[in-house]
């Protein structure tokens, strides 16, 4: 009994149950809509694990949301809700793209330079939201939403400028090839490469995708965030403010400064996410958009599923990327609308939100056992 209830109490148990419940709900909805749920879900799993390139594509899809998720999680550790990750992502992508178009160095300099540009732009944009909060007490959710729209229109404006706009497209010029993080970008276009990919189906499969080095950078940044949070005195400060800002204030910690710094770092992560997307994914350019692409907003779900843990974001980002990508094969193969996938993601997030109920259930079970024991003892004593 105790073993079981203590297993139930582990945070990861709740998350796994939430994910399973999400799949279950999706299955029920699929069945109601007249699709064979087993067929549908297997099509989805097939679309996730079926071929090496599918997994490569999922990693590609997961890379930006792991970082935006980490951005949200990091800010959340200090009690801030970084809904502005979307705008920071857009700014990061834009700055990275402009740098990549205008500067052409060797890849060893070009890639770090583009990444730095993206991180700096995201960090500044994040710090702006933090500054508004610290200085004028404007809630970061309100300012974040507004700044997201500003970022989107600003990005569209720059995209339309003659200097950057690629004629007869809806986007900018692509960045210089030296800034690509995909493997062997130049070689891939050659005959020799085509032959190689034919001869090596496994590697060829992966090489044909946008599989790129961004995931390594993303994981490194996540580990860095986790290190800062848990191993440095700065991280101690942030967590103290996040957990109880009143006590932190009373202990002499400058809360406002911490708000700005935290939003700055969260923005840096989201900006890095945008830069990696530009460097790693076709079309290596910023396109004019009518609605948010959702890389920042999906970060909220990723952070939430990860229970606010930066390292957890790596896994929940992969899960989320898998759902998004595998969901498309659900639609393609079975003909079910992609909305089903959105419902599934929604249910998972919903159950993750409810997962705190599981320790409560564990408490209830223990409570019942304890009461029974107590009553039994008394009865035993009196009889």
């Amino acid at each position: 009994m105790n073993k079981f209830t203590s297993l139930l109490r582990k945070p990861i148990t709740g998350t796994i149950i939430a994910i399973l419940m999400g799949f279950l709900c999706a299955a029920v909805i699929l069945a109601c809509a007249g699709y064979n749920p087993i067929h549908a879900l297997s099509a989805m799993l097939q679309g996730i694990f079926g071929r090496p390139k599918y997994m490569a594509n999922i990693i590609v899809k997961a890379t930006p949301i792991i970082l935006t998720g980490c951005s949200v999680a990091f800010a959340y550790k200090m009690g801030l809700f970084n809904i502005g990750a979307e705008g920071q992502y857009i700014f990061g992508a834009l700055a990275a793209c402009l740098t990549g178009i205008t500067v052409n160095l060797s890849p060893w300099l070009e890639i770090p330079l583009i990444l730095l540009a993206g991180m700096a732009a995201g960090a500044l944009y994040g710090a702006l939201a933090g500054w508004l909060k610290a200085k004028f007490n404007i809630h970061e959710v309100i300012s974040g939403i507004m700044l997201n729209w500003i970022a989107m229109y600003f990005s569209n404006f720059i995209t339309g400028m003659e200097a950057f706009h690629k004629p007869n497209t809806s986007g900018t010029f692509p960045i210089n090839v030296s800034g690509f993080t995909t493997f062997f970008p130049n070689w891939k276009a050659t005959e020799e490469a085509a032959q190689f990919m034919k001869d090596n189906p496994f590697l060829g499969d992966i090489l044909r995708t946008d599989f790129n080095a961004g995931i390594i950078i993303a994981i490194a940044l996540v580990l860095l965030s986790s290190y800062i949070l848990y191993k440095t005195s700065k991280g101690y400060q942030l967590r103290a403010v996040g957990s109880n800002r009143y006590a932190a204030e009373f202990a002499g910690i400058d809360v406002k400064k911490n708000i700005i710094e935290t939003m700055m770092f969260a923005g840096l992560l989201a900006g890095a996410s945008g830069a990696l997307a530009i460097m790693g994914n076709n079309p290596h350019a910023v396109l004019e958009i009518a609605a948010f692409e959702g890389n920042g907003l999906n970060g909220l779900s990723v952070a939430f599923i990860a229970n606010g843990s930066p390292i957890g974001c790596i896994f929940s980002g992969l899960l989320f990327g898998g759902l998004l990508y595998g969901g498309q094969s659900l639609q393609y193969v079975v003909g079910a609308p992609t909305e089903i996938v959105n419902i599934m993601v929604g249910t998972i997030v919903f159950f993750v939100a409810l997962k705190d109920i599981i320790p409560v259930i564990a408490d209830k079970m223990e409570h019942r056992a304890a009461t029974k024991k107590l009553v039994d003892q008394k009865e035993g004593a009196s009889s």
Binding site: T232, Y236, A370
Partner: protein, 512 residues
């Protein structure tokens, strides 16, 4: 049959069991209250007395046991059932609508209407006035709640219960917020109620009030029923022993102070509260090395703002705060700390602790960035653990070996010990303790008072701000009475009388 030979008890609770989580908080507790008597429930904090009363009032469901009201078994599903069976409860925190008048608050939820929909305020006011008259509960039914004193608000709560037809009245820690004079008045009211046949239950841990007001007393210790005694047959220290389970020293053993130079000085301090109302109106005092300066007063006379001004949580509009001759007003909290001032906030959970941090991490809340706890910006967990372990030993923080546990799991007394240990580890020249024993049991209080005295004897200055007059009288060497943002009178402890301080606290003067 039995009923004929023995008067029916107003309340009978038998074998009450209540479990929170897997922790039993009430284990087979019994309570019998005679009709028309004043019955006190005595116990330390966390003993389970409030839980017991909340069960009687239907706020909690018991996990075992039965409740009889006037001989009839009742299942208390919720407070509505309790009210219907004639039980009323006055909580420690009043539940009144500030902008409504006294009469409006009393009839709230029980409005008399005419024509089905329209409030009949005249009739309501008459009913309320009749109650006021009958029990000597002196309040103006047309006054707004926000304009009347805490003592009067309490009377409104009592009236509210009576208006709903309560025969059995539960008072939860009724004297915690009252001045000595108001306490006397409350005791009078209680007598009036009993004379009219009402039954009163008082939850308290103040022994002298039990002696003054109650007929019988039931003692609960750690969820266990201990005994029910006739108050007139026992002494205060007997009650204390039963409550704590061992011999306690009610008075702090204290040597005479040996004060030297002035360490801390507040001069003509002016400050506003969050609403922008001036609450410190030229407050001044001095504390010398080796002296405990106690500030006595009723809540809301500027104590909170005084602490916040010293710790630079708020800005002051005028005056100076000096520690060792250095002015610190209107700087930063960090400056206050580094200038040698350590403070214990009255709101332990909000201002003193990071509840989701471990005990050891809470120990370094002000020193985490200093060697050896962190070197070049990296935390050294080993050094923190070692330090915490030492402190846990030294201050006897329980459970032993709790360094890695979350601090929220500790009892209030042990949490407070962590805070005090942390603050004293800074080796401050001035230790400020605001309400340091609030919500703690007798054992913990004794411990904390000793620590304050130790600081004094080491030649440090101590500022004790407390709403408990007893505490100030017991611990302080010099007493300053705060009223309306000023220290109205200052006196050595041995020349102070409770009566005089009580009058000063309420805004009177000793000469009246």
């Amino acid at each position: 049959m039995e009923h004929n030979t023995k008067p029916v008890n107003a309340v009978e609770m038998n074998g009450i069991v209540k479990v929170f989580g897997n922790r039993p908080v009430l284990d087979q507790v019994n309570l019998e209250v005679e009709k028309g008597s004043v019955h006190a429930i005595l116990g330390e904090n966390g003993a389970g007395k409030s839980t017991l009363m909340n069960i009687l009032y239907g706020l909690y469901q018991p996990d075992g046991g039965t409740i009889k009201i006037n001989g009839q078994q009742v299942e208390m599903k919720n407070p509505s059932t309790a009210i219907a069976t004639g039980i009323g409860m006055v909580h420690q925190h009043f539940m009144l609508v500030d902008v409504f008048t006294v009469a409006e608050n009393i009839i709230l939820g029980q409005e008399t209407t005419k024509g089905g929909a329209f409030l009949d305020m005249d009739k309501a006011k008459q009913d309320v006035l009749a109650l006021i008259e009958k029990y000597g509960l002196d309040v103006d039914p047309d006054a707004k709640i926000e304009d009347i004193s805490v003592g009067m608000q309490q009377r409104v709560e009592i009236l509210k219960a009576l208006y709903r037809g309560a025969d059995i009245l539960i008072l939860d820690e009724p004297t915690a917020v009252l001045t000595p004079q108001e306490i006397d008045e409350l005791i009078n009211i209680i007598h009036n109620l009993v004379n009219d046949g009402k039954t009163i239950l008082i939850i308290t841990h103040k022994l002298d009030e039990i002696k003054k007001s109650a007929d019988k007393c039931t003692i609960i210790r750690r969820g266990q029923y201990i005994d029910t005694v006739s108050v007139k047959d026992v002494s205060q220290s007997d009650l204390a022993d039963m409550m704590v389970g061992h011999q306690v020293n009610l008075k702090v053993a204290k040597t005479l102070m040996n004060p030297k130079h002035v360490i801390f000085e507040v001069d003509d301090l002016h400050a506003r509260d969050v609403r922008g109302v001036e609450v410190l109106k030229g407050l001044s005092f001095k504390i010398r090395s080796g002296e405990i300066y106690g500030i006595a007063g009723i809540d809301g006379n500027g104590q909170k703002e005084l602490l916040e001004a010293i710790t630079n949580m708020i800005h002051v509009q005028g005056g100076t705060i000096k520690i060792n001759g250095k002015e610190i007003q209107n700087t930063t909290t960090w400056n206050t700390i580094t200038s040698g001032i350590a403070s214990i906030h009255e709101d332990r959970e909000k201002r003193g602790l990071i509840p989701d941090f471990s005990v050891e991490d809470n120990f370094v809340l002000e020193t985490y960035m200093k060697n050896p706890f962190s070197i070049k910006g990296l935390m050294k967990q080993k050094a923190i653990s070692d330090f915490a372990k030492k402190q846990v030993q030294e201050y006897d923080i329980r459970p032993n070996g709790c360094e890695k546990d979350l601090i929220r799991g500790l009892s209030g007394g042990n949490q407070q010990k962590v805070i005090i240990a942390r603050e004293i580890a800074n080796n401050p020249d001035l230790l400020i303790a605001m309400q340091p024993t609030r919500g703690l049991d007798v054992g913990a209080i004794e411990n904390i008072h000793k620590t304050l005295l130790d600081q004094r004897d080491k030649g440090k200055a101590v500022l004790l701000i407390s709403l408990e007059l007893d505490e100030v009288m017991n611990v302080a060497d010099t007493i300053g009475v705060i009223y309306d943002g000023k220290i109205v009178k200052e006196m050595p402890q041995d020349q102070a009388t409770e009566h005089e301080i009580g009058l000063l606290m309420a805004g009177g003067s000793a000469n009246e």
